[in-house]
């Protein structure tokens, strides 16, 4: 077992007056893949957004320790520069900013932080070429505006492409599988699996068990009403596929 990368203790968060996370406890060690499953509205995406630093959510209690430091004190860009990557459930379209410029700026921000020299456009291009091939994307996509006019599948693939280039220590995949056909799903899973290593960790948030056939998790957690109500190994995901999420709300009431 690797040393802990992420430690979440009793995390409570709300949006407006509505409490969404109601006491999350979760430890992710280096090299592990954790899957978080649960019905719509259980707080899965909120958890990912809070870890990434979205200020839409207010943390009311608890703490998040990332590599030994207080994560909640950091701005979103500092979290990203230190190796946290969120693959968005709904990637944002940014007309007027090319994918190439955007990703180069992102990579250079992280390199600068690590004290490494920044890459110019040519160096960047030669670095990403292989990754483009792996993600089965057209190179011309780099010159297009970020996600603008991309299909749903292209957007999700673009997220994983960015992840592969940025090589995060902790990747959060927020329903990256939703709406993907099986071919696109395999490409996405390949991208994620290619990054698996003893010093990297992944949090896979999904509504469906299907993705976990391709990205096999070490642990599966079930989220309901803002709490983790069950944890287990990959067999839990299969059991859920059989029984569905019915009954989890009652379970959430009994977990304190």
């Amino acid at each position: 077992m690797g040393k802990p990368i992420l430690k979440i203790k009793n995390l409570h968060a709300k949006v407006g007056d509505k409490e969404i996370l109601r006491g999350i406890d979760l430890t992710v060690n280096a090299g592990e893949v954790h899957a978080i499953m649960g019905p719509n509205g259980s707080g899965k995406s909120t958890l990912a957004q809070v870890i990434a630093g979205r200020d839409l959510y207010t943390v009311t209690d608890g703490e998040v320790i990332y590599e030994g430091q207080d994560l909640l004190a950091l701005a979103p860009e500092e979290r990203a520069q230190q190796g946290i990557f969120l693959a968005f459930q709904y990637p944002v379209e940014i007309p007027g900013v090319s994918n190439l410029y955007f990703l180069k700026a992102a990579l250079n921000a992280a390199r600068k932080r690590r004290g490494e020299p920044e890459l110019d456009a040519m160096e960047f291009l030669s670095l990403v070429r292989q990754t483009i091939t792996m993600m089965e994307m057209e190179e011309s996509l780099l010159n297009r505006a970020v996600n603008a006019g991309f299909s749903g599948g292209e957007k999700k693939r673009n997220e994983i492409f960015q992840m592969a280039v940025l090589e995060p220590r902790l990747a959060l995949l927020d329903e990256t599988d939703s709406g993907l056909d099986i071919d696109a799903l395999k490409i996405v899973a390949n991208g994620v699996n290619a990054l698996r290593s003893p010093d990297r960790s992944t949090l896979v948030i999904t509504h469906y068990q299907r993705l976990l056939n391709h990205i096999v998790p070490d642990y599966v957690h079930v989220l309901a009403e803002g709490r983790i109500v069950r944890s287990g190994d990959k067999s839990l995901a299969l059991a859920l596929e059989e029984s569905g999420y019915v009954g989890l709300e009652e379970l959430a009431e009994t977990v304190q």
């Binding site: 979103p76 990203a80 520069q81 940014i94 007309p95 007027g96 900013v97 955007f102 960015q162």
Partner: protein
């Protein structure tokens, strides 16, 4: 005053002086000037000086091509309706004269540079005459330092089937007043493209008017960046005077600080101008809650078989886009700059002169950096 050998020109100037005396400076009671108070210009009352123009001097051309100038100068810009045009016509000392003979393609863009003189009023008068079948790109740039008043009038006469791309770069000092009228007359099948870029000036007013004949294409693009206490007012008017003409208009503004801006886009489709295709868009990015934008389309359509569309938007920086950029490691200030830049680039990218595009990209980044430093220094 400039020596005019021709009696007709002297007569035009005398009449303009009378008109200005009758019109006086407009007030905000005048519908065309509702949001732009020019009282500070009248109050400053700077003494008149000849403008400093690089090359292509109108004054010099008056000696060489008196007939050509007499044929066109003062025949397009309307001094009966616009006091500033009357003021210019009555008092201009110099300006630029560009004449492209027919069927001539000019490869290199023509640059006209005006540098203002502090504490003076200048009335640059420009005449651009492009012969039939010719093609030219022209850049008119205004800059200066300190307090002053520039009141420019440019008349552009485009021959049949000619193609003209015109860039107006307004980079006046932040203490200056700048008023400009560009009056364009397009003969049939001609193509005119205007890029009206306003970056500087304390009080700025642009009037860009084009009259389109049969089969013409007219494009009016604009970008205005206001900060501090700047006020920039863009009035455009497209006169579809004949059938089968198309016009495209895109004006974008970025407002910060306690600044304000006006966009007023007039499209007149005359009774005979069937098959007109006109599209107007005005988009504004408002960065500060203290800045104000007034935007107004003014469509007057007298023909029945036409397609005219217009739309205006006013918005803030997209929070989702900001978070997306920051979640990839791009800092708050960098993310903000990138989104502003992307918004403006839409206009800059349409300019067909690479040198101007590159220049503007740099100017835009410098301006963003500058305002960021101001914000950082204040906090």
């Amino acid at each position: 005053m400039i020596a005019t050998r021709t009696s007709e020109l002297s007569e035009i100037r005398r009449r303009a002086a009378e008109r200005f005396a009758a019109l006086r400076f407009p007030t905000t009671r005048d519908e065309e000037w509702r949001f732009t108070n020019v009282a500070p210009i009248a109050k400053a009352d700077f003494p008149i000086a000849a403008p400093k123009v690089s090359g292509h001097s109108l004054r010099a051309a008056l000696e060489l091509h008196p007939d050509l100038i007499e044929e066109h100068l003062g025949h397009y810009a309307n001094d009966a309706a616009n006091a500033f045009v009357a003021l210019n016509t009555a008092h201009f000392e110099d300006g630029a004269f560009v004449h492209i003979p027919k069927n001539t393609t000019v490869d290199e863009p023509v640059w006209i540079d005006f540098t203002a003189i502090p504490e003076r009023a200048a009335h640059p008068r420009n005449l651009i005459v492009v012969g039939a079948g010719s093609q030219v790109r022209i850049v008119e740039r205004y800059s200066g330092a300190g307090r002053y008043f520039t009141n420019a009038v440019t008349e552009i006469v485009i021959g049949e089937n000619a193609i003209v791309e015109h860039v107006k770069l307004e980079e006046e000092s932040l203490d200056s007043f700048h008023v400009a009228t560009i009056q364009v007359h397009q003969a049939r099948d001609s193509n005119f493209k205007s890029h009206n870029i306003s970056l500087g000036g304390l009080l700025v007013r642009n009037d860009i008017n084009a009259v389109l004949s049969t089969g013409c294409e007219g494009t009016l693009n604009g970008l205005y960046l206001t900060k501090g206490r700047q006020h920039i007012d863009n009035h455009t008017a497209l006169d579809h005077a004949a059938p089968h003409a198309a016009s495209h208009e895109l004006y974008k503004g970025i407002l910060d600080g306690s600044s304000s801006a006006v966009f007023n886009g007039k499209i007149l489709v005359r009774k005979d101008a069937q098959k007109t295709d006109a599209k107007q868009t005005n988009k504004n990015l408002v960065l500060s809650e203290n800045s104000v934008i007034n935007t107004k389309p003014e469509l007057q359509i007298l023909a029945d078989d036409v397609r005219c569309t217009h739309g205006a938007t006013i918005g803030q920086l997209d929070e989702d886009a900001m978070f997306y950029l920051r979640a990839r490691g791009i800092g708050h200030a960098g993310a903000r700059d990138l989104l502003i830049y992307a918004f403006a680039r839409d206009v800059i990218d349409r300019i067909g002169i690479p040198k101007v595009r590159e220049y503007l990209e740099k100017a835009l980044f410098a301006s963003l950096e500058h305002s960021r430093r101001l914000v950082e220094a204040a906090s």
